[in-house]
Amino acid sequence: MTTTHDLDRAALTFGLASLASLVFVFEGLDEFRFMTVGGPAAAIAVVLGGLAVAAGLTGIRVLALLAGLGFGTVAVLQLVATATGGDWLGGNLSTMAFWLGLAVGLLVIGTAPNVTAAAAEGN
């Protein structure tokens, strides 16, 4: 049975993944630069990633929900920015796909019912 602890750990992992994406700030990665992260996109990675980390560490599920909503919003904004020829968010469509994944994962975590390990054992 899924426990609260599993979901919190998943939120923590997604937050750390967002923070790890800051490695893609470096242009020197060349063909290993799987996505573009710069300027506002880097700030987004820190703020929303930090929110997801906080959700994982504290177990406050609404923080995961907010982080998921945030990542979903910036994914849509990145799509709009690229489609309109703008670069005002500092990412690209690869960054959008990455944020989409984090958004879906964190929204699933944020909306999952609370189940404690004790309750899970009881089933």
Binding site: M1, A10, F14, L93, A97, V104
Partner: protein, 174 residues
């Protein structure tokens, strides 16, 4: 050959399966960047997605596929471009977090086949690259790779304990 024991990977194997899944996700994520709307490379000269789509006609691999590209896809290229963008972004996103991994592994096989039929005979292409793309997605499906370090592993038993068609579908997709 018949397996003597059910598939039960060690902790290390579980991490390696997760690493393979994330690596495949990054492949899709990396290649979303050049599916740029609203034109998707349509123009003179053709570029990016439009160029690769035309290759399916100019360097025909399969006659029915070339006909489909020429008569259905090219005249409706903008719709096709958005569908490719949505599919490949979703493949990257869902394989990355390991949610509904078996479903997206199958979609990965389908998209890999579509790419193969368009690109296999184009100049300087290495046909094993396309075969490997198909095979790795089959492996992600066979191992239910999202259950190792992915959301499927977190949610699978949760779906299993809840009744209803939707939860059964989600469990099957994982």
């Amino acid at each position: 050959m018949k397996a003597t024991t059910p598939f039960a990977p060690s902790r290390l194997s579980g991490w390696l399966i997760a690493a393979a899944r994330i690596g495949v996700a990054l492949m899709w994520i990396d290649n979303v960047s050049w599916k740029t709307p609203p034109g998707f490379g349509e123009g003179d000269p053709p570029s990016t997605l439009y160029r690769w789509t035309l290759n399916g006609v100019e360097y025909e691999v399969l006659a029915p596929w070339a006909w489909f590209i020429d008569t259905v896809v090219v005249p409706n290229f903008t719709v096709f471009g958005w569908l490719v963008l949505a599919l490949e972004a979703s493949l990257g996103a869902f394989l990355l977090i390991g949610l509904f991994t078996r479903l997206f592994a199958l979609l990965g096989v389908v998209q890999s086949l579509a790419i193969t039929f368009s690109a296999l005979n184009a100049p300087h292409e290495w046909y094993w690259a396309y075969l490997l793309m198909i095979l790795i997605h089959l492996l992600l499906f066979a191992t239910a790779a999202g259950r190792y370090g992915g959301m499927d592993g977190v949610m699978h038993s949760h779906w299993g304990h809840r009744g209803g068609r939707l939860h059964r579908l989600m469990k099957a997709a994982s």
